[in-house]
Amino acid sequence: MAAVCPECDAEIVFKAGTITGEIIVCPDCAAELEVTSVNPPALELAPEVGEDWGE
């Protein structure tokens, strides 16, 4: 069973040994995601430090 990236809807299959609270990166949009549940798989956007990206 796969989780869905809340940013871009990519399907993400957890690797064996993934644990709740782990931070993973979406392979499509590179969003940092927090594993909020392993069974069933669920993800939320991880809190991020604000960055100055030329703005």
Binding site: E7, C8, D9, A10, C26, D28, C29, A30, A31, E32, E48, E51, W53
Partner: protein
Amino acid sequence: MTRVSIVGASGYVGGELLRLLLRHPQVSIHQVTSERLAGKPVSGPHPHLRGVTDLTFTSQSQLEACDVLILALPHGSAAKRIAEYAQLAPKIIDCSADFRLRNPADYDQWYGEAHPNPQWLDRFVYGLPELNREALRGANYVSGVGCNATATNLALLPLVKAGIITGNDVVISDVKVGSSEGGAQGNDGSHHPERSGVVRSFAPTGHRHTAEIVQATGLSNVHLSITSVELVRGAVATVHCLPSQAVDEKTLWRAYRACYRGEPFVRIVRERTGFHRLPEPKLLGGTNLADVGFDLDEQSGRIVSICAIDNLMKGAAGSAVQCLNLMCDYPETTALEMIGLHPY
């Protein structure tokens, strides 16, 4: 082995074709022509090929029969002599604009003169595999693609195929391009003190590649502006689209994934963090890759679709070799699997 000859091989596209095909496991280069450099080694205009080949240029009058003839001539040359070239090889790839457009009247409008052999236009398949892959398989006559048109078309195809942009929706493509688009022959405008450091709008309206975009996408309200910038290789199309129906970001993700899933040379680039968030040509030099991404202005509904390519590769020679692979039933990625340079 497939014996390939290249007509007009002294230019940048010819040099790229040689760089790729000299390492193609199924191809042997039979002849390469240049009227100006006949008898001289190809490593003269293409010094990166030193030690790779001892080929010398011949004149077109010395051309012999081969399996595939690739024409890398200035626009207008191939169209006049296509019947002669067809006597030399059963398969032809023409990298110029001479056989890209289906409608003969488009040549009057965009190239300023009537096509000399309009009866040949229907025989050619437009050489963009992401659009015409099945028609290219086994084809005998294939046209090249315009680099600005390719960057714009690859940016637009996901939106067109998903029906997000249709018919008369406004599309404005702003393409920034490198100096190699101007070819290997210099002019007053390419003189280093005049060219270096420019951000020069050289075709704000009326660029010829507009016709290719209209033909490939079926859209009618397409506007193209070209700006030359401080690059040697590379083109990036920033395509502003005003759809009649509002869309959300996840709908766009689905459209881009559906269009490019499984495409060997197209990558979707839209990252949430970091500084390489969207496509940029700097990462693609020497590769046949096209990076495609997007952004959405949720307030206005404007979609900005972005595509970066190496204009000499995906925009010319790389696409031509990809087409050759399809025409000859070789794996599509043969001789094209190089990775870009970073930093570059």
